[in-house]
Symmetry: C2
DNA sequence: TTGTAGGCGTTATCAG
DNA sequence: CTGATAACGCCTACAA
């Protein structure tokens, strides 16, 4: 391993000068600095994080607690957060251990902050885990122990409903996972029923299309079943990206056109690459908003600035030709 | 932050004694040891990795390079490897950065070994990245720069074909992703054609069912198209778990029973929880084999033992009632 | 502008 | 068995 001492020797200066030069301190004459940097590169110098963080008490690293790799749910988020933090000079490290173990690890590693992905719908730890490092949580836990960022799913669906009603739709269906296994999915359902109730005085029976999961095939199957039963609707609000893809397939099979026969709005954190075959209107908090909120919060925590105990992000709607106004 | 010095003060011993006690050294009298350990717990002592690895040159940590969180492909593997390493006292850290950056990070962090998930089918870096830390690669790259563990997909499919032929099947179909986007999928296809060729002297036209992806719906669609065209087969070899699920749905729709009408063998690293609706015969290298091979290799590298430059794992077949012998 | 010295928390090597 | 003491690689006053 090559150390600053090696560089110092090679450059014929003292190693503290090397240290300064490498940190780009103004206390070193440009030519000396340049020479040192060159030598460092030639030698393939890698600063030793251990040594550095021992003295400086920080590691320029943030740890991400991610107990469920299996569910690729947050993959897009974490990728982006990783990039953003990198732009600020921080390195992101993930742990797929249990929350307690992961937080423990990150504490020992002296990361500068911890981002905890709250296993959506599950409840987190109920006693505040001992941590010297500030922790931010994405996704609300039953009992919020840490500053938390979350998106408002209920309002998102509600927004979709209101939008459709306001352009003349009356017969609106919601397709989603209604197994009640997942609290977050339940919120979407109630967003729908509440949204309808708010617009229609008289009680209308809610048209719910229950899917047995969140996969493409689930959406396909549920929608097909709905159509097979001879039911109709002028507009569908869909609970997730993949379900929507399934819905589209089913509609295609029945030669129903979007939006002529049915309008459609899909819940999602608006994805960077819109891979829908046809453009689809989307509701939700855009990924950019989520990620930069999280990144900002993390940086603030690192710099010991105040961070709100709870940040709830409000949805936006991106309407396009997948919605037809009825007169 | 509480250090061994704090503990020393509280226990009325020197801090070097504390260090020994905490490392469970035999050089400390049991009662003293016990007392020290107790105090450490009370104070919530967390050893400082930075300090430790600074002197001991190791961090009891292995880094995993995982540039593509998006594709949850290896989620099951990594979870298991994480557990196994933990049992050996190692902590696993993931980086989702680009390979170069990730390796760099892990070097600075002084991890004890690096596991690189080779983004299947893509080619890795072509010049050996400078690393003081030993690197193990899972999945063969174009030009293998590091010791590599991989599974033999070609032989797996071949094994399935041979098995079916040997129990009397002649009309065997293969369903898989034939878009040729992914080298690994291509290997499966050639495993099929080669397997057939080896059993049937006279050239038989290969029955290939092309799916346009690897999702459940892709399998469903492809199989349905096949059946709709009036084609038949007595046995299907499927290229992946999800495709197989789709195939089953399609067969159900056509009231074809497994195995009475069609036998089926699915490629897969045998999953821990068999979530198939009906039991399905599987070929592939069991996950346990893969993960413990990797874990062993990593531990060997850490202990500076020799590790073969290339380990290719051979498939196994788990036959069950999804295959019917024809007479 | 550069060099010297002290210390960060731990481990390891000696003396006691 | 226990206690000093010297590293480990780096940073940061402070001195030259």
């Amino acid at each position: 391993m090559v150390t600053i001492k090696d560089i110092a020797k090679a450059a014929g200066v003292s190693y503290s000068t090397v240290s300064k030069a490498l940190r780009d301190s103004p206390l070193v004459k440009p030519p000396t600095k340049k020479k040192i940097v060159n030598i460092a590169n030639e030698l393939g110098y890698q600063p030793n994080v251990a040594a550095r963080s021992l003295v400086s008490k920080k590691s320029d690293t943030v740890g991400v607690v991610w107990p469920t790799v299996e569910r690729a749910a947050h993959a897009a988020l974490i990728t982006k957060i990783n990039d953003q933090l990198e732009n600020h000079g921080y390195t992101t490290l993930l742990s797929i251990n249990k929350v307690e173990a992961a937080i423990n690890t990150f504490n020992r590693l002296q990361v500068d902050a911890i981002l905890m992905f709250n296993d959506q719908g599950q409840d987190g730890p109920d006693t505040p885990l001992p941590s010297n490092v500030p922790i931010l949580s994405y996704g609300i836990a039953k009992n919020p122990l840490y500053p938390t960022v979350d998106v408002n799913r209920r309002d998102a669906i509600k927004l979709a409903v209101h939008t459709l009603v306001d352009i003349g739709h009356k017969n609106i269906a919601f397709i989603g996972d209604m197994s009640q296994r997942d609290q977050l999915q339940d919120e979407k359902v109630s967003g729908f029923t509440e949204g309808m109730k708010e617009r229609f005085q008289e009680a209308t029976a809610d048209v719910l299309i229950p899917a047995s999961g969140l996969e493409l095939y689930d959406g396909y199957l549920a929608m097909k079943k709905f159509l097979q039963a001879g039911k109709t609707t002028t507009a569908v609000v869909s609970g997730s990206y993949d379900l929507t893809r399934g819905v589209i397939r089913a509609l295609n099979e029945y030669n129903l056109s979007i939006p002529k026969d049915v309008s459609i709005i899909s819940y999602d954190n608006i994805p960077q690459t819109n891979t829908f075959e046809v453009p689809i209107s989307l509701v939700g908090v855009p990924n950019d908003v989520i990620t930069s909120t999280i990144t900002d919060a993390l940086l603030n925590m690192i710099n010991k600035k105040q961070v709100p105990q709870s940040i709830v992000l409000e949805p936006e709607i991106k309407l396009n030709e997948s919605c037809l106004a009825l007169e």
